[in-house]
Amino acid sequence: MKQDIILSGVGGQGILSIAFVIDNAALKEGMEFKQAEIHGMAQRGGAVQSHLRLSDKPIFSDLVPRGKADMILSVEPLESLRYIDYLSPDGIIVTSSNPYMNIGNYPNLDKVLDGIRAVENSVIIDSEKLAREAGSRKAQNMVILGAASKHLILKKETLEEFIRILFMSRSESLADINVKAFRLGYNATS
């Protein structure tokens, strides 16, 4: 049993919070994992990505080999396409439909979404709407994690536990908002 995931988004969108939740859930469930992330210069509003590998056997490379990712989990639609050469032929994309437009040449959004739909069984979620419904526009990362959780080899309950732990350090209401965002994302997918 293994799962290779590429997390993607724009610096500041909280993909490392997603990684924190999955890493800790994996540890609790006795899985092996490796998770490579980008620090430093690229974090300043640029494209960011994290390679996250889960397995019940030892993992070697910190990076997912090209063509081996089971899922691209993205908080931004354009960014979900940036790593498509990592996706295996039967891999899926789970992404937000809400663009982050901090570049002048952002392509036509419909074309971006068509590109995502060209990958079979992909899931596109209006994360901004659901995050607002949960109580904070910033909780879009947890909406996407919720939507992806149906496909993850980790238990929904374990993921929720670590969302709570992560945000409790700031405040209880923030923890509630993020768990709610996760559940709304989970329920939004069939």
């Binding site: 910190d62 080999p65 090209r66």
Partner: protein, 534 residues
């Protein structure tokens, strides 16, 4: 035994703490920053050891040497180019009789994710005739760091731990062991630490005599692994550090396993290499960074009757980072099938200055002032403002190394560049900018220095700086810059016109001027707000 989730950098830090660390020192730099960040967080909880940011890597190294002299254990961490700054104490410390364990952690950045070159620190260890340890994963980063202090004390030399970006910034499980106590204080002896020629000659001889013992250590180290497949005499692999993982990622589905030597210690384990080479006809060398092992193995004339493949003959790319994909190609395996993007060009999303960044306001004003001058050059430096080289600013012309902006502006001005402008951040100025400014004061060179004081080391995530604000102004005055040519501006959109006038006036002054642009980093302001709101 406890299990923790740690970045490679953090595993190094925790290994040092558990080895009885007394003091850690560093200057921030990607991908090494997280070593010290972890030490500082842990020291606040446990308070048994010191952990501090220093003004630059050279000073950090010298502070560590003082700890070692006292008999206690110390670690200094930096990015690869930081070791260039610390090269003087580093090279000379190899000749001293290291007393308390001294471990130098250097994080290389193959692929240049956040750096201006991809120099390979194994060459530095080789240059200094010391031991280098190169972990292949997070667990090994912890284990190797713990062991490194013992090794340093056993051979009385510094030990360099080389990590690379993909290990520094990758998380995994690490099992830790109970910590040991710090060393008692026990001074070194003056004759072993006073490198006057008469002493230094003796010390160098001792260091060189040590080499055979050090190679024996390398041959016997548990961190190297030799697997010989007697049935396969055609092909073998030597892989070091994390490159070993990329090999295994592919060997999983390799029918006839080749012989494989994993190298994690230097000087090279000659005996292990010799056993592998005797076994096979063709050797693939896979190493992250420069072809260090490959060059040693090949020598000038190669090995008679054997083929050596690697970066030097193009089997692996000559530059850039390894991956399981390019290693797969080097193993002559069929590439994995991937999905491809149809009829769509993906625009790049490069990093950029944050919205509201004070550097943006200063660079805007500077651009407006320099527009009429066709000969203007803006010599810049290392920091967030280097992003000013990209659109929409296109405001700076150089970025070479820490502090270079000021010396380059002086050299350029004296060669006829006008206007010659230097742009440097407050932290980079304290790191390496004061000495070149003193040079420019001595000659009153016709140049304008702009110090961007945002009160923090911003690019690496907000570490403290040593002399922002009033302190910075006093330093500039103290270095001898004339008071009427030290101008302080506040970079805000509403001050644009005023700031343009000030910059214009100082550029037209025939001599040295310093403009200090003071406004706190917007990220820091946000962080403080969040903390306040809590």
């Amino acid at each position: 035994m406890k299990t923790e989730i740690l970045l490679g950098d953090e595993a190094v830090a925790l290994g040092a703490i558990h080895a009885g660390l007394t003091s850690g020192f560093s200057y921030p730099g990607t991908p090494a920053t997280e070593v010290m960040e972890y030490l500082i967080r842990a020291s606040k909880k446990e308070a048994k050891f010191n952990a501090s940011w220093c003004v630059n890597e050279k000073v950090a190294y010298e502070e560590a040497l003082g700890v070692s002299y006292s008999g206690k254990r110390t670690m200094v961490s930096m990015k690869h180019v930081g070791l260039n700054v610390a090269a003087d104490p580093f090279m000379n410390s190899a000749l001293t009789k290291i007393n308390g364990g001294l471990v130098v952690v250097v994080a290389d950045d193959p692929g240049m994710h956040s750096s201006q070159n991809e120099q390979d620190s194994r060459y530095y260890a080789n240059f200094a005739n010391i031991i280098c340890l190169e972990p292949s994963g997070q667990q090994e980063a912890y284990d190797i760091t713990r062991a490194a202090f013992d090794v340093s004390e056993k051979f009385n030399i510094p030990v360099l731990i080389r990590v690379v970006t993909r290990l520094s910034h990758s998380r995994s499980k690490v099992q830790t062991r109970p910590p040991q106590n710090e060393n008692e204080i026990k001074y070194g002896e003056g004759k072993d630490w006073t490198l006057l020629p008469a002493n230094a000659r003796k010390r160098f001889e001792i260091l060189m005599r040590r080499q055979s013992e050090v190679i024996t250590f390398s041959n016997k180290s548990d961190f190297n692994k030799l697997y010989l497949n007697e049935k396969n005499s055609s092909f073998g692999i030597i892989a070091s550090g994390i490159a070993y993982n990329y090999v295994w990622e592919n060997l999983k589905d390799f029918p006839q396993k080749p012989s494989l030597l994993k190298i994690c210690t230097y000087p090279l384990p000659e005996e292990l290499i010799s056993r592998l080479v005797q076994q096979v006809d063709s050797i693939l060398v896979v190493e992250e960074g420069y072809p260090f092992i490959e060059k040693s193995l090949r020598g000038l004339f190669g090995i008679s009757g054997k083929t050596v493949n690697g970066r030097l003959n193009g089997r692996l790319p000559m530059t850039g980072e390894l991956s399981s994909d390019n290693v797969r190609k080097a193993l002559e395996m069929i590439p994995n099938t991937t999905q491809i993007l149809q009829d769509f060009t993906l625009p790049a999303r490069p990093p950029q200055l944050c919205p509201g960044c004070p550097h943006g306001d200063t660079l805007n004003a500077l651009n407006k002032v320099l527009k009429p001058f066709s000969g203007a050059v803006v010599f810049s430096d290392i920091g967030c403002y280097t992003l000013g080289a990209l659109p929409p600013y296109n405001a700076v012309d150089t970025c070479v190394c820490m502090g270079a902006s000021i010396g380059m502006a002086k050299g350029g001005a004296e060669a006829g560049v006008f206007p010659s402008v230097a742009v440097i951040g407050d932290s980079t100025f304290s790191h390496s900018g004061m000495t070149p400014l003193l040079d420019a004061v001595a000659t009153d060179t016709n140049m304008t220095l702009i110090i961007l004081d945002n009160n923090v080391v911003a690019m690496t995530g907000g570490q403290p700086t040593f002399a922002p604000g009033e302190g910075l102004i006093r330093i500039v005055e103290g270095l001898g810059v004339r008071k009427n040519h030290i101008q302080v501006i506040v970079p805000l959109p509403k001050n644009l016109e005023k700031n343009i006038q000030i910059i214009k006036r100082e550029i037209n002054h025939k001599g040295l001027s310093v403009i200090i642009a003071q406004r706190e980093c917007v990220e820091e302001v946000l962080k403080k707000k969040r903390r306040g709101a809590k």
